[in-house]
Symmetry: C2
Subunit: 202 residues, 2 copies
């Protein structure tokens, strides 16, 4: 198999959710492994001077509309969360914990958390909600709750976010493959063409 | 024919150029007229607090790369201009002038100016360059140079930009059709699906 696709996502990012629902199928079509990296865009924005889309004048209203329209365009379910954005550290930490069981388990929990937030309108900023979502997926929720409050996992998330910044990740969703960066759910067709035909000169 | 597609573009916008090369074919496939609106993003940014993509940390480098890669993805020629961004008032005014001859003439000149800037690396911020491009397209360049310096055409551009702001246009390229807004060259597939199938509930 060729180089994996690195997939960076923030749990407060609707476009991240739309990409999360599509990236594994894309990876399979292109015969590329996908490595999932939960990140904290808030921390990254402190470095880049970026700001949440929804808080930008005009662009904010447009985006709130475009989230819904894009989900329908992709054939996905989307419900604007009541509480938005959320603090997503604990959701990220839960994914890091689940990834220690297997990459597959990590993807399963990340997707379940995204759906809890953007389909079922559950506040995945709360530890008890995260535990509940994990339990429904067959995870040991007591072990999860204990693990995500350890310094070990907190430091791991911190290191991962710093590493993402070092890789010049500045948004969500964000993809890196073959040294090439792709930003946005709307870059999925280009990303797929890239990995399928082995890139192109430009 | 159904409602037209309103196409807003700034001459300093590489993605605007990529859209300009594709929107007429899309309109024909969907049986929709396309109305071209040259705008000044700099003026709009003063209202929205937006800033040029290329001047945003990290996003700037990404974009400079993505312009080239996207052009190749669409099968278009693109050469990063030496002078960038440019003051594009006069190019806008020239298009407004040419539109008085016919909508078709306006599109022809707009596309010729975009290609002069993003393919031939000519500084279309300069009136003599604009005149030269127009002349090669069969326009009366002396009449053009005189017209774009009149208060009439200056006010027309001012009014058009204010009208775009009133329509909540905040970027380039930007499309409005059937009351629906689409922002970005990467929204062309969604726009096409929208106008082809008559929209969808979301």
């Amino acid at each position: 198999m060729s180089n994996p696709i690195h997939f960076y996502f923030d749990f407060s990012s609707p476009y991240g959710y739309l990409a999360a629902e599509q990236i594994e199928a894309l990876g399979k079509r292109a015969n590329r492994e996908v490595i999932w990296h939960p990140i904290l865009l808030g921390v990254i924005f402190k470095t880049t001077g970026g700001q949440p889309l929804t808080m930008t004048p005009m662009k904010g209203d447009y985006s709130l509309n475009d989230f819904n329209r894009s989900a329908a365009f992709y054939g996905l379910t989307y419900n604007a969360p009541t509480v938005f954005p959320i603090a997503s550290q604990n959701a990220c930490r839960a994914v890091l914990w689940s990834q220690k069981q297997s990459a597959e388990k990590g993807k399963q929990l990340a997707l379940a958390l995204y759906r809890a937030f953007f389909v079922q309108d559950r506040d995945i900023g709360k530890i008890d909600v995260i535990a509940d979502v994990a339990k429904a997926q067959g995870f040991d929720s007591d072990a999860l709750v204990a693990a995500i409050q350890t310094d070990e996992i907190k430091n791991e998330l911190k290191t991962n976010v710093e590493s993402a910044i070092a890789q010049k990740v500045f948004g969500s969703p964000f993809f890196i493959v073959d040294g090439e960066q792709f930003w946005g759910a709307d870059r999925l067709p280009m990303l797929e063409k890239w990995v399928t035909q082995g890139g192109w000169k430009y």
